[in-house]
Amino acid sequence: MIVTTSWYLVLGALLFIIGGVGLLVRRNPLIMLMCVELMLNGVNLSFVAFSKALGDIGGQTVVFFVLVVAAAEVVVGLGLIVAILRRAPGSTADDLSVLKG
């Protein structure tokens, strides 16, 4: 059995979908954050697979940028979650519903 590029692409798409569905379904802010990471890693995998198939280094460069930026995003996200949990321990996304209309 030969593992071709499309296997990696399918895996990347699956990771992306699992992350996306998880983000929409789960209600714990921390798990939602992990789901975003899963989506981004699906993206990374698909970039690397394309890059290898095309013989072009550009796609792998993108992955570096995505990794760095994702790290910065997580820092901010964790900061927000800490700020919320400090005030109301055990909050879920459903508890955040002061604003509506």
Binding site: L40, L80, S97
Partner: protein, 496 residues
Amino acid sequence: MEALLAFTRPPLDWHALAPELTLLAVGTILTLVDIIWDEKSKQVMPTLAGVGLLAGLVPILTLALDGTDRAMFGGAYMVDDFALVMKALFLIVGYIIVLMSVDYIRDGDYYENEYYTLMLTSLLGMLMMASSRDLISVFVALELLSIPAYMMAAWRKGGRRSNEAGLKYYLMGVFASAIMLYGMSLIYGLTGSTSFSSIASAMALNDGVTAMSILGVLFVLIGFAFKVSAVPFHNWAPDTYEGAPTPVTAFLAVASKAAGMVALIQLVFVAFDNHEVIQPFFWLIAALTMTVGNLIALRQTNIVRLLAYSGIAQGGFMLVPFAVAGQASERALQAIVIYLIIYAFMNLGAFSVVLAVSRKTRSGELESFGGLFQYAPGLAVAMTIFLAALAGIPPAGGWFAKFGLFRALLDAGGAWAATLGVVVAINTVIAFAYYARVLGQMWFQPIHEGDERPIKLTSALGSALVIALVATMAFGILPGLVGHFGEVAVLSTLGR
């Protein structure tokens, strides 16, 4: 090791980067001043930030006088006339928002110093966005402008509403950027390049629409549709706008939305030129955004929320020309740029009035505007002008923006453009209904809680109001002023 040593820095055009470098330098100085002076620094922060933003305009002027297009990093970073027009807009908007923020932030109990650093960083991302002509630089610029904005939305750390606003904005923002990135990976796989010009030429060669290209283009566009809060990707906007501090709301509603539009312009008119999926997509979300935004705005009782939904609907108007990007590309691009510029000033003006009034009434409800004309006639007249501009009534600026839309639609012709024109016309009428409700409160209702004390306008907020007012009226009476910028942008983007 040899490969590492062999690295040479790509040539940098320092003059072209001067506006960004100015912002970066001022942001760094702000942080240093904060560390060194501590208490005293509170006084100089806003002044320094404001001066820095104005200083950024100087290199933009010299670059505009010079007039040559400057490309860096193999065309990934372009400084052309379109970029300069948008950069100037971002800097001026940033300056007005600093003016609006000074007293609001100073009155709060929160440590104010990072606020300006974060705002300058976000603006730096917007300036980069105006120059980005590559998927990577677009992504980096988008994150550079979004990440500080998440923190600004959650500025009141102890406040429940502000926390909620920040987290909602954050989760929707990162979700959108993940979707956009996945689209980018598909486009990269299809075209083998990340630069806009190569993507355009590769897409022109690949005849036939494949599922992959449709998915790629759609995902990237959806990522930015979140940013410009287009329906059905708008859920975060009203909550975030209401919960965030009001100057931050103005920043998100104007600057952040403009940055998303700038990216969409480059993607639609340069990278995905004439892809089959673009026009139907924008037709649909423009019609939905206008209609849903306006209908929900009708039943709002909180003024900031009303402005939020009005902002969503205005964003819908801005998306209209994208739907005719193929048939009438020049007119469409011009209409979007003109709408962006006029919208920035009229919306900032409306937010300034809301800030001024809520400083006294401490309320965001619509009733707090009751009888405004009796004790603050100046503010009531200013608000009337801004709302008239938003509704598109001459001579206030907004009419010219709406006129541009119809001109683009007429130029395109055909049944689809005509139907969209009808949707725009209907929505203009609906929008007038809720703007009129605010007007009715100000002019005809009894004074809110019988409190007739006049409103003391601080000098900073007053200057913001005057700048917005002068610009709104000037664009309405002398539309040539803003029309010129539209033409310049068209020339440099489409090269025709």
